[in-house]
Amino acid sequence: MTQKSMRQALNEALRQEMRRDPRVLILGEDVAGGAGCEGEEDAYGGALGVTRGLVGEFGRTRVIDMPITESAIMGATAGAALAGLRPVADLMFVDFLGVCFDQIFNQAAKFRYMFGGKAVTPMVMRAMIGGGFRAGGQHSQTLHPMFTMVPGLKVVMPSTPYDAKGLLIQAIRDDDPVIFLEHKAMYDLMGEVPDEAYAIPFGEANVTREGTDVTVVAFSLMAARANDAADLLRKEGISVEVIDPRTTSPLDLDTILDSVENTGRLVVVDESPPRCSLAADIAAQVAEHGFSHLKAPILSVTCPHTPSPFSPSLEDLYMPSVDRIAAAIRKVVSR
């Protein structure tokens, strides 16, 4: 195994799947870049460089730069999938969902059910999520709860390079529409990633820290922060179990409930405003199905009910930090 960044892991997944299956293609704004310009081809390779180099191997017929027209991109992706291709669309910032809501929510997500099980829509929508870039209200959201509540979509939120590669390969091979959310603060994160292709099944949680006092559930960047909080609290004698479900839909509730049965305590961390969040959803499901295991009220650590602020001083308060996660864990074990 070799050390690779999240960016390299994602690039490798796309490259290997495009080699394996000629139906796989990439559509998005500046997925290559440089079209119609005097300078270099492949000038961007995606806004943060994930698809760099792919146009060189697969050409512009399979790595297609799109005008800045999100509705057309997502609609064409859904239509191409319905017509037998396996497109991977790059929405760039997930906030641009606002422009193309209909194509994802009313079209792609519902074809199979509305058409009586006859439609197959094997598409992937990749998008960058999350805060930390001081990018303000229209470039910092996560929006994963919105996708998660729509039946027909599968939603993936990797937290390591290893998971990113295996889950993206699964997303491309999957026959349903998959929303694949990459945290923009994690592209340079390094980790062990096998060179060969492998798929990680959806709906299987990863227990990233084993512990006995409290269960912490977190996704994406928050899983990394939850791990840091667990490592910090071990020194204080608190044994924290961290679960990264990796996909919000389907959700591996069994692993969460098994863990809560052992620990009796739950903290859910979610980079999202609190209302109708994954924190609220998981807390509700554990309360419903695992109430008898609980020794203390469930706590959640989320963003406040506000848009994402721009100023660094506000954004640092806005996002769940290791300190805030650790404080919630200390509070729940003290009860």
Binding site: E29, D30, G33, G34, A35, G36, C37, E38, G39, E40, D42, A43, Y44, A47, D65, P67, I68, T69, S71, A72, D95, F96, G98, V99, F133, R134, A135, G136, G137, Q138, H139, P304, H305, T306, P307, P309, F310, S311, P312, S313, L314, L317, Y318
Partner: protein, 322 residues
């Protein structure tokens, strides 16, 4: 169209302020003093100023992610802008918006916008409000060549024609939508020809030339104020820099950028025109340059020392009442 000396000085002051402001923002970003993403307007000054010279505070504009120039052209306070871009509590939006969301409603500036194609529908709404309130004000949207392809923009233009609104759609063709060229992404390679198909007067002008923009906008504003309905203007002027500060700009060649900055500078063109015609003297313009440099310097210095917002500010301003 005649422009008097005071107006020429005002136009030059605004264009030079934009350039000086952007150059300072670039330097401060490189030094790590400005967080987030910044998109600079250098090279396109004549577009914003040629348009906004015709507008009062009662007229509305909607802007883009590349919005500093539109703000300054509309008369927004430079110091408050700099403080906002630095993320400070006394910035124009309390540090909550930043470069991509600067707004000053008192000046009729409805906000920079980080969604491509965001402004035209908003401008249509502002134009509708002006019409229904019986005012003679107009609403102007700025959109790039990249944004000109968005469905939201098409819908907005159609609506403005249907309702015969005092809306003016400015398409700033700076050659690039991010790292993709206009010649690739605009299928017809003719933004203004496509716009004309919606049923409104549409003109393409040299966006480097303040006077060309100013003339075209004068006609569009007269039409809008007198109930003649919407218009569109395409202003063609390449941006000097990248999509954002930090963009490696591999899609451009060094020769092309040098050529652009040498031959296509709206400020140089303006200065040559007004001094050749003996409307203004080099001394008058140099004096303004010095004044503006001092203003920008003072703005950046005070921004760097201003306090950041704190915990008490995080959850305010979400609703009027809740």
């Amino acid at each position: 169209m005649q422009i008097n000396r005071d107006e020429l000085l005002k136009a030059y002051r605004r264009m030079r302020t934009i350039r000086a402001f952007e150059e300072r923002v670039f330097a401060e970003f490189e030094r790590g003093n400005i967080p987030g993403f910044v998109h600079l307007y250098s090279g396109q000054e004549a577009s914003a100023v040629g348009v906004c010279m015709h507008l009062t505070d009662a007229d509305k504009i909607g802007s883009t992610h590349r919005g500093h120039g539109h703000c300054i052209a509309k008369g927004v306070d430079v110091r408050s802008m700099m403080h906002e871009i630095f993320g400070r509590k006394d910035g124009l939006c309390g540090g909550k918006g930043g470069s991509m969301h600067i707004a000053d409603l008192e000046k009729g500036m409805l906000g920079a916008n980080a969604i491509v194609g965001g402004a035209p529908p908003l401008a249509v709404g502002a134009a509708l409000a002006a019409k229904l309130k019986g005012e003679d004000s107009v609403a102007v949207s700025f959109t790039g060549d990249g944004g000109s392809n968005q469905g939201t923009v098409f819908e907005a233009m159609n609506l403005a024609v249907v309702l015969q609104l005092p809306a003016i759609f400015i398409f700033e063709n700076n050659g690039f939508g991010e790292a993709t060229g206009h010649d690739y992404a605009v299928g017809s390679r003719d933004i203004i020809g496509r716009v004309a198909g919606f049923g409104m007067p549409a003109t393409r002008v040299d966006g480097r030339d303040f006077f060309a923009v100013h003339d075209a906008m004068g006609e569009a504003v007269r039409r809008a104020r007198s109930g003649g309905g919407p218009s569109a203007i395409e202003t063609v002027a390449k941006r000097f820099g990248g999509h954002y500060v930090g963009d490696p700009m591999r899609y451009r060649t060094a020769e092309e950028r040098e050529r652009t900055m040498r031959d296509d500078d709206p400020l140089i063109m303006f200065r040559r025109k007004v001094t050749d015609a003996q409307l203004l003297t080099p001394g008058q313009l140099d004096a303004l340059d010095g004044e503006i440099a001092a203003l920008v310097e003072a703005s950046a210095q005070s921004a760097a020392q201003a306090p950041f917002p704190g915990a008490a500010d995080l959850e305010t301003d979400v609703y009027v009442t809740y």
